[in-house]
Symmetry: D2
Subunit: 135 residues, 4 copies
């Protein structure tokens, strides 16, 4: 998969979506100034945003066929180790697939494979507006 649409947040921050499977999602972004905060490290919001993108894309792809959409409900990121350069690697595992919500846990590592942040994302699954599938 290529870089996400340049106009939206994903493209603006240089997010790349590598895989959006039903149980595994992967992405990455290069550490340039646009994802840094003033002290030179990766901004905490960049991790949270990437996790949200991965979970949203992977959930949506697998519920859309049933006339549903996926909407972010909660995003909880813990920052374990700062990253200052190179590439940030994100890997999300689906932990729960319910009728109305999916839960993902995303690990972030640096180029040396060290765990730098973790995010739990809860996606709400809802009938698409205008769909006949839901109440």
């Amino acid at each position: 998969m290529a870089e996400r649409s340049a106009a939206t947040l994903d493209g603006t921050l240089g997010f790349e979506l590598i895989e959006a499977g039903e149980e595994l999602a992967r992405g990455r972004f290069a550490v340039t100034d646009r994802v840094r905060q003033p002290m030179g490290i990766v901004h905490g919001g960049a991790y949270a945003a990437m996790a949200e993108t991965l979970a949203s894309a992977a959930t949506y792809m697998h519920v859309a066929g049933d006339g549903n959409i996926a909407v972010g409900q909660s995003n909880h990121t813990s920052f374990l180790r700062p990253i200052t350069g190179g590439t940030v690697h994100a890997e999300g595992r689906r932990r729960h697939r319910g009728r109305t919500s999916w839960v993902w846990e995303v690990d972030f590592t640096d180029d040396d494979g060290r765990l730098c942040a973790v995010t739990r994302v809860t996606m709400a699954v809802r009938p698409a507006p205008g769909s006949n599938s839901g109440s």
Copy 2:
């Protein structure tokens, strides 16, 4: 206060910091494509990032005088209501000021004053590298 440095994430997403007081912090950003996700609503990561910016800036300003820095430790955002246009308004209240951590809760509202997201941010307070203030 003016728009944050254009080069970093804050400037890239158009974040504006209005107030960074010891107990209250306020900011805002305009809803343009650079903060949207593909479905046209504000990307969840934009709320998380703005909360992180507010809490970091406000904490740092008030611990720096003691030779300390503030580092994001945890960011938990709940998304309550999507925003598609206008301005996103953020207001953070400090809930806790400990020796080693500060806790902020940030409310996000749309132009009609409706609550659209809430974030709890925990900032770790640490001695600045090279400072004599800490262990």
Copy 3:
């Protein structure tokens, strides 16, 4: 309101529900050994449990009339200051009332009114089993 049923967790830990309004919920519990951890302070799980009880009871009371139930979905507690004795006071404010989820924020204070813990609880609202109200 009186002490909760002695047999369930609420009664076992001595939780008292004082108010379960549509926007405000209040409760308390005495600090005895049954809510302490081995070091003599209130166990973190006691705060989390009390917040869950308040949010569940208050949400349920106001959605049951429509044939719905309330089920805990997420509970995030931050511990700010240990409590060793006296009474733990809990006050929950409803921050969001959606069609499928309610969000509460609960503050815990000690007998001197100091903020000691905060919890955000997300309740899922679902049709009661056997109800005609939902899908």
Copy 4:
């Protein structure tokens, strides 16, 4: 390891600690009324409390030798599937060991091995009162 002290919360709720290793911690509790909420399912606070117990015990055992204690800082539990009977099994993996904080993720399963809740616990590591090890 045997059942935890009968007087404290752990014993009151019937928590059993099976293993408190440096990277893995395991425990369990039987589903009786004392861990149930009024609707007959396991109370959300019981999962949160067990996760807090596991992370606290395992962290403390491995930092005490350096004159430190472990204090719960944050506990975020997501409830995925209700449990009504049998035994609740908890397994915690340490995700981060920093100088001032450890992070654990705890999975809860029922007797059929189904994932029913997940908790992320952040433990603060601090010098023991009266210790010479810290500032």
